[in-house]
Amino acid sequence: MRFIALIIVFLCGGLLLYATADFPAWGDPNSPANSYLSPHFIEKSIEETGVPNLVTSVLADYRGFDTMFETAVVFCAGLACFLLLRNYDRKEENFYRHLPTGVIIQFKKGDKTLPVGKEFEHMDTEWVPYDLIIKTACRILIPFIQLYALYVVAHGDFSPGGGFQGGVIFGSSLILYAIAYNLRTLVQRIKEKMLGLFSAVGVLIYAGIGLICMILGGNFLDYGKLTQILPFDPGHIRAYGMLGVEIGVGITVMAVMVVIYVNIVSEGKHDEGL
């Protein structure tokens, strides 16, 4: 098996190397790729869209249709993980710890449960000692990560960043919350239904903005038409359209990252995990 792999690898490698013979030299400004479409994007982006970050303007406006389907890919991943791993059947044994005495109680069959509160406390089978330092450090850190994530989403027009990066950072702050405490606290605080709704609402915001532009007479996703309903000056209307779209992308990516993490780490039971 390894021998076949080596043959295939060297064959593909050889074909690719043969092709690099007449590539344009690396980094010269007038290679076909740098002299055909991109001068228009670089020079006209400020006038047409009013957004200095060229990557965000091309991403959300010139090729905005691509990005909508990219958000649909992220939504697909979240939905796929939910469909594949989520199972609703009850767990057999439950572990409880009696807080005052520290006695651990194990129920073999899953039907009996104890009221979790002052007296009793859930315990995971792979019991992990909760370190106070990690808990308090994360409790302080998480709000600032989320603030930074919102900044990244909002500031996508002027500096590197945008919907995807901001959404991932916000999602990873929630994952940090799940790892620092335990998965049960995250699942209780952010219901699974909320995550499902957020992941769909984000893409709906994106497609909705496109649909509004269509209803207002332009083509799909043509932000220029939004001037008829939004009171902003036409020069910057496309920047606001892009901001709305980035917010939709951020919401979807945040929700999907948490859905994927929760489903993988708890094998779909949403009770115990890393």
Partner: protein, 81 residues
């Protein structure tokens, strides 16, 4: 000065990729995989692709390493080859 940095990062990237594949324990593969993504992010930052580097840092090094460790936590850690 530019292409020296490039070369150092390139060698680190290839080293991380090869190590991530040959090492036997999956958790160290996860760490090497995170290091590989971070090296790629550095490479792109050097090449001027700041948006792509930012995404790769947050998505590649960040979240996919967390998914990887979560999956290894749920499956086995040892590998035979």
């Amino acid at each position: 000065m530019h292409w020296q940095i490039d070369l150092i990062i390139l060698t680190f990237t290839i080293f991380c990729a090869l190590a991530a594949i040959t090492v036997k324990d999956l958790l160290s593969t996860a760490i090497l995989f995170g290091a590989y993504s971070f090296m790629m992010c550095l490479l792109w930052a050097v090449m001027g692709a700041v948006d792509v580097a930012f995404t790769e840092a947050s998505v590649g090094a960040g979240v996919s390493t967390v998914f990887f460790v979560a999956a290894v936590f749920r499956t086995g850690r040892r590998t035979k080859d």
